[in-house]
């Protein structure tokens, strides 16, 4: 976009056209998938969408604002539990809370999915705000450990608050509200949000905070407020992601929301490129599919000539190695901090002279 005067008419440039066609194709694909995919593939498809939301929520914080937070699983847990408790019917709750009955004021609340998930997101955002305000004053490595600590604290609190969360038993039989449609829409909205945000002045301010906090502050940016805002919004999105996850798997328990989960999302973000929206989207899809595809590594394998016993843990070994190789040899991940553009794709096939990028 050239910085000319005032308003620009909506030009149907080649790039815009290609983007619209691609989105339309994707929507058609999604509809076809819904009708023809079997349950397993559909689940993978849904997981991809949910991980897009989660990866973007973490990338907002780590990649775009430069805040290394390791407590993401905690916010996901808050979102998942709040949403679950709001959507479960009293009968369902009674079935679950067989050890210790549920707290009376939660028992009879049952609301539809959309308001529930929004409230869940807000709850996570609120927790994020509470945690962020004190913790964001810390230096980056201390911030990492502090957020890790809070993630763990949240998990322990959930495990011990039996009358509210049903403790270690978790919640089973959640209504499967996370349909292909709803997760697809969620992924789409979150991606759109990120794109718009990062193109805006506020996104620029976040990137400035990431690149050089002191200089950003000297240029008039209220660095602390930007950090807290980023943290809060990221927590909101994490809460939404957690709620979607819960209502797709239909079971949640505290053991799901460990540092391991945060690590998985971090893996996706790093592989895709810290600071790249398209990188996170692509990486979320690829890693989710790969995680499922490589599940066979953990199972007994029947290679025509010999059988191997299952090698549990091999899958995570592969992914850990992948992460380390990526971070050591290609720190920028797949996309670095650049976004996918049609020019880039063209550049892969045709060696052209330098052109100005799609947007500043």
């Amino acid at each position: 976009m050239k910085a000319t005067t005032g308003k620009r008419p909506f030009a149907l440039t080649r790039n815009r056209l290609l983007t619209i066609i691609a989105l339309a194709a994707f929507a058609v694909l999604a509809i076809i998938a819904n009708s023809f995919f079997d349950a397993f593939m559909l689940r993978v498809f849904n997981m991809c969408a949910i991980y897009i939301v989660l990866a973007l929520s973490l990338n907002l914080l780590n990649g775009f604002t430069g805040l290394f937070s390791l407590g993401h699983a905690g916010f996901m847990a808050v979102g998942a539990y709040v949403c679950a408790l709001l959507t479960m019917t009293p009968e369902l709750k009674e079935m679950n809370y067989f050890l210790v009955p549920i707290v009376p004021w939660l028992r009879n609340i049952t609301i539809p999915f959309l308001p529930a998930i929004l409230i869940a997101g807000l709850a996570s955002a609120f927790v994020g705000f509470l945690i962020g305000a004190p913790v964001l004053r810390l230096r980056d490595d201390y911030l990492a450990i502090a957020t890790l600590g809070f993630g763990e604290i949240i998990r322990v609190l959930i495990t011990n608050a039996q009358p509210i969360t049903n403790g270690a038993q978790g919640l089973k039989g959640l209504p499967r509200y996370a349909t292909t449609f709803s997760v697809g829409v969620a992924a789409g909205i979150v991606t759109l949000f990120m794109v718009l945000l990062m193109r805006s002045s506020y996104g620029r301010a976040m990137k400035a905070v990431r690149d050089d906090e002191l200089a950003a502050e000297a240029m008039g940016i209220n660095v602390f407020r930007v950090k807290v805002t980023s943290f809060t919004v990221s927590s909101f999105l994490a809460g939404v992601g957690g709620a979607l996850l819960g209502h797709m798997i239909t079971t949640i328990d505290p053991k799901m929301f460990t540092f391991m989960l945060t690590f998985n999302i971090l893996l996706i973000v790093v592989l895709g490129g810290i600071g790249s929206i398209s990188g996170s989207v692509i990486s979320a899809i690829v890693v989710t599919i790969l995680m499922e595809a490589l599940r066979f590594l953990d199972e007994p394998m029947n290679l025509i000539f010999f059988k191997t016993e299952g090698l549990p843990g091999l899958r995570m070994v592969v992914f850990s190695i992948l992460l380390m190789v990526m971070v050591i040899y290609r720190q920028r991940g797949l996309m670095g901090n650049k976004e996918f553009s049609w020019d880039m794709l063209q550049g892969l096939f045709v060696k052209k002279g330098r052109k100005e990028g799609d947007h500043v």
């Binding site: 002045s201 506020y202 620029r204 690149d211 050089d212």
Partner: protein, 259 residues
């Protein structure tokens, strides 16, 4: 120099900065008037950058006050001080590494775009008009300093001299009343330094600025400063116009053995 105190842009009263046992700045009393170009010189480690950091709010002074146009700004956060009209550059160039030349300048316009996260993301009309105004303004600034043809290049890919210029322009985009430049001529040869000094004079006139600059090499600023303060180990050892500073025995002694 006029005695008219309503002209007073920036002043400090007994400004002292101590870090544990080390006194970086001691009893600094500055008086900088509108449209002046004032220098702060001294050997390395004299406390000049620390003084800047205190004035711009990065440190809270151990003693003393900072006054901007008569108003006590001691203890304000840096971004608030910038909003009031004090901008600065850094000794080690601190451009935003991952951004283009234009984006670097646009970041400095964020203040005037004055948007919250939702207004910006939703591209509300109010935001949109302020954003395009900021772009127009930034391009205009880049044009004035001869960097507009590099607007979409990555900021840190520019040659050193142009990076320095970019940092100055970025500070200008905050629409300051007074500009603090920390060793703007560092790493430049005499010819480049002279050009930079002409540039500084030019922007002072064009943008109606007051300029306060740190320089380690005396010769560079002799021609451009109206008066100078000389620091050595945090203490003000001299103050006056260039001619008298050059002849001041204490100043010569402080610089002895140093470049």
């Amino acid at each position: 120099m006029s005695e008219n105190t309503s002209d007073l842009m920036l002043s400090t009263a007994h400004l002292t900065m101590k870090f544990g046992g080390l006194t970086a700045v001691s009893d600094l009393n500055l008086e900088i008037r509108k449209n002046e170009i004032v220098g702060l010189i001294g050997p390395n480690g004299a406390g000049k950058t620390t003084a800047f950091n205190v004035i711009t709010g990065m440190y809270y002074p151990t003693e003393g006050k900072v006054l901007f146009k008569g108003r006590n700004i001691t203890g304000l956060k840096p971004h608030s001080i910038t909003a009031l009209g004090i901008a600065r550059t850094f000794q080690n160039i601190r451009l935003f590494k991952e951004m283009s030349v234009l984006e670097n300048v646009l970041v400095a316009c964020h203040m005037s775009i004055n948007t919250g996260i939702f207004g910006a993301t939703l591209h509300l009309p109010g935001y949109r008009s302020r954003e395009s105004e900021a772009r127009r303004f930034s391009m205009e600034l880049l044009e004035k300093v001869g960097l507009v043809h590099l607007a979409y290049e990555k900021g840190t890919s520019l040659p050193y001299g142009q990076q320095r210029r970019l940092e100055i322009v970025r500070a200008l985009a905050t629409k300051p009343k007074i500009l603090l430049l920390d060793e703007p001529a560092a790493g430049m040869n005499p010819q480049e330094s002279r050009e930079l000094m002409d540039f500084i004079r030019k922007i002072r006139d064009e943008f109606d600025l007051t300029i306060f600059l740190i320089e380690h090499h005396m010769q560079v600023v002799m021609g451009v400063c109206e008066h100078m303060y000389v620091l050595d180990y945090g203490v003000t050892i001299a103050h006056g116009d260039p001619a008298s500073i050059q002849k001041n025995p204490k100043v010569i002694e402080a610089y002895l053995g140093v470049d």
